[in-house]
Symmetry: C2
């Protein structure tokens, strides 16, 4: 297999800042405060294969050569590790679920990997306000399952929910499937605990002073009696508790380059009482925008997702068994599909709104849709979602994917996909032994298009055909080169396509201020 | 009148950083690029009285001695002023509508006042995405009126809407009456244009590169034909356009201490098709929490405000003609009141939900409410809101107000008000010639209590009785000393009550990084 790592020149801060490698003596130091099971190193007894899941991303695109993975269990342990690495100038890659798509959580060379996987406890949950405080290493699905019985949901949902960590979600400012309804993490994250690059702990989970002697955390819900629950509420955090500069915002989307997020306080919305979804088949892409306007008007505040899937993406999802919504006859002539979800407080009202919308759509003189299927049971509801969420998996089964997560106006979604396909064809690269498919899907509400190019293998020729071509198209539509996947290692060189010099200059100053030795996730976000 | 300014030791960065005063030669310089009407200075032809509205806050609590007010019309003019002041080390106070409550927009001594009042143009509005780009000096109500005909509303609303500027709202991270529904400005502000303390312009309104030669702004809606509106959409910004560190977040809530916000890009939600409100009278404060839970459950996604008003606040609003919701008999025995607002997409559904709630409340065995009034017309709807929004004005008519805008758990709202009243009584300060009323009102959804102490005059004795007493109570409830009014000049000394040393240290480092000469709004936020 051809790896991108072998063909891209490797210039990292590591080379500039006189970084050092992890040595046996460092392991001896870590052994003083870490449990033996928290240390995995080929310098001692680990086999190289043990480190593979940490050194490689799930797509097989990015490959690191770390010798050592540490899995601390407490914030204090993280702080001690970072403090030591700061003195020793050992670069660190913080790693959550390692589900990223831009190489942000994999070493560029032999940095120390600090995995948050063992920091996986819910610290507290207040069922009245919905405020959840959790260790950064908690898996998103685990948190969803945790707050569910209390009639709350997580404000974000994404395909990788079974593996991704909440800390990684925040570090990459993940968007996902619920952004349309619940907004971005910049709004729903209420506080963070961050270990800064010098080992200091920035605790913004509460507004409590350091010298306050009260109990640090309130009780996890499963430990509480009804009386204690009242106490939990009494002690509960408030929703807008910060005064002064909102420092936590700096770490949302910084991808671990300014510090390591060790805990997250997040506002979980009440669970909707009723959820419905429908997949609609559209004869032309041009109908997506008028459909979006109609759906917004008719469903209003119960609209919770409006997801676009082009025909190629739909076909691949069906091919790889990711669910089947409509029969072959029903999708004949459909150029693309839209999945609409509603979430509301009253089933009868929601169903009435949704039925009126469908009637309205089907009885129109010039219908915007050719067909559609409305889920009639929880199983069907899940099955429709599986089709949309399964596109990612279908793509990875089909071949090697070049994934561009871009922000462009909705009206240009199709043009961007088509132009990319035409460009590859003009380079003679659109055939079975090079690029097999070019497809698009994404979140219409936030103008977020996932442009995927599926190739037989990762090659330099395809890479060169795609970049800077794709970034130039994005810039021509005033878009952004990264909507929700982050910059990682993949897009550092492309940052100027969506950030101007003043902004990049200020980013560099802030990086220099917080991480003067450049040890935090070097070579990510900023070159 | 006794002024707080006279009794508080005046230690500002100004004294430390060798700041200089505005001189006649500076005015000569400003004349080179500003229109004569943009310069108001007692060093030339202005009378001191002309500067009074700029030097004093509306409560009559904070008083500056600026000699000069500049009112630039463009971002370029702002940048030229700041650049000059940076070289000359002239401190600057950015001023919006000057409606703040913590002295943040008034000079501490003779800083230059830079008023944004002449930067009051809407730059663009995209009716499909709802993205509005406006100069910082646009008045909130003006923007509400601007987007209204396009079926959009501003995501925030507050009592001062007729005077406050959108730039000031963002600089102070204003919360207001719609936070429960539309979330904080950290989520709804999509981009900012900021003049940095060295005069550089940080343009994060779009993700466009500086060297892109396309049109800089899309057309204001009133200038567009239907065809052009399609074009506007084609060019429209996307909702989650940023990659890299989200720099704009630093300026949200920084109160002009890190730079001057000159334009704001903000997501405006679709106007609700139906809005209703109701004022409920409660026999006991203890019923507020169960009522909130019931209302949240029954109204779900159409709940848009849940405002608390204690009996004293209600009585004062009625006394000063700010609206009357219920008759004297109807409010007998009520200890406090709650205003509930709904906003939804379908009137019949919303009314059914609201009626079911009221029926449910009134038919309960142990009713949570004693009485209530449901608005039956747009006039009544406004009249109920006038009562809640009029509390601020009623307070200022009643006497001199010490205003604390704090974040504490809902359950402690009444305890905090009662403890403060008892404490003042124990100091012998609760009588007609000292403190006349202690009252509370606020936004339940975000745990934001406005604690007001109305005195006959501002005196040092009352001040000393209130502080640090109030801040200590807040800290004991793990609350925040500032929920939505900012820190300003009023609370810099109290910041440690809700921020720890690491956080304050990092705030100071960021201030030093961006504003090494300390010229931006000195003495505000940080001491």
């Amino acid at each position: 297999m051809f790896s991108l790592r072998q063909v891209r020149p490797l210039v990292t801060r590591a080379t500039r800042c006189a970084h050092t490698r992890v040595q046996h003596s460092d392991i001896d130091h870590f052994r003083q405060f870490l449990q033996p099971s928290s240390i995995l190193s080929t310098l001692t007894d680990a086999a190289p294969a043990d480190l593979e899941p940490f050194n490689n991303d799930w797509m097989g695109k990015y490959h690191g050569q770390a010798t050592t993975v540490l899995k601390p269990r407490t914030t204090e342990e993280v702080a001690k590790i970072v403090s030591w690495c700061s003195q020793r100038r050992i670069p660190i890659v913080p790693q959550g679920g390692n589900t990223g798509l831009v190489g942000g959580s994999v070493p560029l060379r032999d940095e120390l990997i600090l995995s948050l996987a063992n920091m996986n406890k819910v610290r507290s949950f207040d069922p009245v306000s919905g405020i959840l405080v959790a260790d950064a290493g908690c898996i998103l699905q685990t948190l969803t399952d945790y707050v569910g019985p209390h009639n709350h949901i997580m404000p974000l949902d994404l395909g990788a929910k079974g593996s991704c960590h909440i800390g990684g979600n925040v570090a990459t400012n993940a968007g996902g499937l619920r952004l349309l309804r619940y907004g971005s993490l910049h709004g729903s994250v209420l506080g963070l605990e961050v270990v800064l690059p010098d080992g200091q702990v920035l605790d913004q989970l509460t507004t409590l002073r350091k010298d306050n002697t009260g109990p640090r955390h309130f009780l996890p819900v499963h430990d509480t009696s009804p009386l204690e629950r009242t106490l939990v509420f009494f002690k509960s955090l408030t929703i807008k508790p910060y005064s002064g500069y909102d420092l936590k915002q700096l770490f949302i989307g910084a991808e671990g380059t300014l510090g390591i997020i060790t805990a997250v306080s997040i506002l979980t919305p009440p669970s909707p009482q009723a959820s419905n979804n429908v997949i609609l088949a559209l004869p032309h892409f041009d109908n997506v925008l008028p459909l979006y306007k109609t759906v917004k008007r008719d469903l209003s505040e119960i609209l919770s997702a409006f997801e676009f899937i082009d025909r190629t993406a739909y076909n691949l999802a069906v091919k790889h068994g990711q669910g089947r919504a409509l029969s072959d006859e029903e999708v004949e002539g459909a150029q693309c599909f839209v999945l609409v979800e509603t979430s509301g407080g009253r089933r009868d009202h929601d169903e009435e709104k949704l039925n009126d919308l469908l009637e309205h759509l089907l009885s129109a003189e010039q219908p915007l849709i050719t067909n559609g299927v409305l889920s009639q049971s929880p199983a069907q509801f899940s099955s429709l979602w599986a089709l949309r969420e399964g596109v990612t998996e279908a793509v990875s089964k089909e071949g090697k994917a070049y994934k561009y997560d871009i922000s462009v106006p909705l009206s240009s979604f199709k043009i961007v996909v088509d132009k990319t396909r035409e460009h590859l064809a003009s380079k003679g690269l659109l055939h079975d032994k090079a690029v097999k498919h070019v497809l698009g899907y994404g979140h219409v509400g936030d103008g977020n298009l996932h442009l995927n190019i599926i190739a037989d293998a990762y090659t330099q020729e395809i890479q060169d055909a795609l970049e800077p071509f794709v970034y130039e198209i994005v810039a021509s539509y005033r878009g952004s080169i990264s909507a929700e996947h982050g910059i990682g290692a993949m897009k550092t060189h492309a940052l100027p396509y969506s950030k101007n010099d003043v902004a990049i200059g200020l980013m560099k100053q802030i990086k220099q201020l917080l991480d003067p030795h450049g040890i935090m996730n070097p070579g990510k976000v900023l070159e």
